[in-house]
Symmetry: C2
Subunit: 477 residues, 2 copies
């Protein structure tokens, strides 16, 4: 049975690869390869940093033969521990960071082909240079890389209009567990030639294959963009306002972010920002319109504002009169995660709900938490997608460590309520290692057994990111 | 080994199900269950028409135990023979037509939950009743059913803006080969809890599981819709015009259909329609805008028209001045497939290409065909998606049977040229039984072996639609 178990990556194993890999592929693992942003997991492993798809394939062939686990590592910004292997034999940490070439830009097709290691902000820049836009946008775009963004099917603030990372990918090049290269870098918008393995790899968090490059869908930037921060009486009303805005302006409504009062309290407490509305409203939404030619953002937002006021959907608001003001409004929203980190959460929850369940869920969860302790809840997020970050904090002046004993109970309470309403407890950050138990608890058992069958089929020795998404099976054939 | 092979569905086998299924599930197979629209394949089998998901599961459990093949049957409108099993032991033809309930409409979420047997036109109607729109639109919408539309990831005329069927589905309920029910009818817009098996089943043509219901994404209808038929000098210029239109009006450009002169010749020849432009242009595009409030379709189309004229992109055109005129323009486009059927194609090709490859492909393929015979080519389709129907016909007055000897050569020639330019030979109709050989010839070998592994994992006895997408493996474990 010994030969059947996974084997640790050792210096001798790495040495055995020196005939197949250039010296540049051998690097010391750094702190950032062994840790993750929230400090919940600490990894082990030896680093390899291939510079090409062929080198990735050579590494995987060797790991497959020797049954050595492989943890793909991209920008390292994931929040669920998918990028660090904390248990089991030491893995090869497969950094894609050196594969950072934009291979091609096709402006007339609105397509850009990027390797897995390209940083999101660089994709934005290259797209802009071609008169196009890559509409994936999130707080970590300065360090997150395409490979990880696809592996986790990243979301962000433009999903309402443009979809998750999955919707922005036309084709992938990927290496299998056996070290074979799937050349699937198609630039086609329609292709029904066989199973949708592209979308299967996307979001599989490196457990079914390693994406080495992707053909990404660009869009024409909207002629004019307008931003407003509107105060609304409640999340229920915020959804009515969304329907009003979409009824008039369709999917030109490209951002619809909810922020609770606590978000502004935290921004003030941490010195990161201040509400432009006073008194700070209980709930605000940040609305962004990306309009076609012929429509004035200011006029369109005023129309939403005025009709919202008339119908009691909006109680206050500020319309950005310049790009600088628009940026400033967005910065408030984008600094909330940073404020959260400074305050220090007892428990964070990346949840999604059917839209109509949101209004009842929020007070229900807050009331249930109040029975557990004097928590502060910062609820914010992508309301238009039904995706909230429902994060639980200690009261002002109390260390979060005091709540260590109830942290598990807090999480379970929130997740149970989400599940009861048909929601997901892994909405946009993925499962990683943090939510393997949640998936087992809440996931459909038939889907789970299908997932295990697919994992076994595509990674028969279980070397790819063991313990992420699905519990490691220990011994494999 | 005998026990390992698939067994035919016999009257005795069906009788053995009478204790588990109501009498209503037992029906005689009709002609439409054994044939398909283009008459290329003729099926066999015994019909079962379950009325519920539980009945579907009971049938699949029995078929799995007895190793009896199952061919799911929905609207029967597929064009690649995926719905009829022509070879091997007689299957159970599993009609989903009786599962025709719209289970729920959630207007505030823009979601509709439909069973697999609901006809597309009925989904349209129900969505409209709720003040919403289901943006999947294709010629066979009066008979195509949701199950088949998802199984084939159907395309149609609104893909440019709204995507294929896959992009319009939030969740599925499905029955596995073993007869287990995956309750995946989520109404969530974001859910990264595990592998994307939804998108894997969608487009798998009934070979990995049977979709019994789906949560569908509705949209708010645009405030105003405008339609124009514009003459363009060439497909290359048509793509420039598309870029111009999208640059000004973004993804409010919701239809961009190319029609060649031959399309209008065929409409005239078959008495199905006449070009409103005279002389009939070599190339025309049907442009549809779905505009937000505040924009006049007429003015927006005039703007595209005028700037197109100035830049030499447009040479003539007609703008619909009323809904009736818009409908009449669309009817021209939608009657082309009917005209094609009346003329009778030597070979039809459902291809997609990277957008920038289209202009060179069309004359290249036409020239190559001309060397093979005096064919007439009707090239039309969803230019914005890079998806063309490149169909080859006999000259006027010649029976297509005369070209039977070169039919295979015609197809191979067209498909080889498509493949050489990075295109797909199964763009929106799927693989079915018609293109299994094409997939083997043109598909990436690593992807194909991954597909076979997934098929083996989810359908270990090979009972689900054997011979569709992948060649039947004969004996299974």
């Amino acid at each position: 049975m010994g030969a059947m178990t996974l084997q640790p990556a050792t210096p001798a194993f790495l040495d055995s690869l020196r005939d197949r890999l250039p010296p540049s592929a051998f690097r010391e693992a750094e702190e950032r390869h062994l840790s993750e942003p929230r400090g919940r997991f600490r990894g082990t492993g030896l680093l390899l940093a291939p510079g090409s798809t062929e080198e990735v394939a050579a590494i995987l062939r060797a790991c497959f033969d020797a049954r050595v686990p492989v943890v793909p590592h991209s920008g390292g910004t994931g929040l669920v521990g998918g990028q660090v292997m904390a248990e089991g034999p030491a893995p090869v940490i497969l950094s894609l960071a050196r594969m950072d070439r934009v291979r091609a830009v096709h402006p007339s097709e609105s397509v850009l082909v990027a390797e897995a290691g390209v940083i999101l902000a660089d994709v934005h820049r290259e797209a802009e240079r071609a008169g196009r836009m890559f509409p994936l946008s999130l707080a970590s775009e300065g360090s997150a890389r395409i490979g990880g963004l696809l592996a986790t099917n990243a979301g962000g603030t433009a999903v309402l209009r443009h979809g998750n990372a999955r919707a922005l990918c036309l084709g992938v090049e990927a290496v299998t567990a056996q070290g074979e290269v799937w050349h699937g870098l198609t630039r086609l918008r329609k292709d029904n030639a066989g199973y949708d393995l592209r979308d299967l790899l996307i979001g599989s968090e490196g457990t079914l294959g390693v994406i080495t490059a992707a053909a990404l869908r660009l869009v024409q930037p909207p002629s004019r963009v307008g931003v407003a921060l509107l105060a609304v009486p409640s999340p229920a009303v915020a959804l009515e306002l969304l329907a009003l805005a979409q009824g008039r302006y369709g999917d030109t409504v490209q951002g619809f972010e909810l922020m609770g009062r606590m978000g502004f309290v935290f921004l003030a407490e941490t010195g990161l920002g201040a509400s432009p509305l006073s008194p700070v409203p209980d709930w605000t939404v940040l609305v962004e319109l990306g309009l076609p030619e012929g429509l004035e953002p200011q006029a369109a937002l005023e129309r939403i504002f005025e009709e919202g006021m008339e119908r009691g959907l909006v109680t206050d608001g500020v319309l950005a009169a310049s790009e600088a003001q628009a940026t400033a409004l967005w910065e408030l929203r984008e600094r909330i995660p940073e404020a959260n980190r400074k305050i220090g959460a007892v428990s964070s929850h990346d949840i999604s709900l059917p839209l109509s369940e949101i209004p009842a869920f929020i007070p229900e969860a807050e009331a249930a938490l109040a029975r557990l302790g004097p928590f502060r809840v910062n609820c914010f997020g992508h309301l238009g997608d039904g995706n909230l970050h429902f994060n639980v904090f200690p009261p002002s002046g109390v260390a979060r460590a005091e709540f260590d004993p109830v942290r598990g109970r807090v999480k379970e309470l929130v997740h149970d309520l989400v599940h009861a309403r048909g929601g997901s407890v892994a909405a946009e950050h993925g499962v990683g290692r943090l939510k393997v138990g949640d998936l087992e608890r809440y996931g459909d058992p038939v889907k789970l057994s299908m997932m295990r069958a697919v994992k076994q089929a595509l990674d028969p020795r279980g070397i790819l990111n063991p313990g992420a998404v699905l519990r490691a099976q220990g011994n494999r054939p």
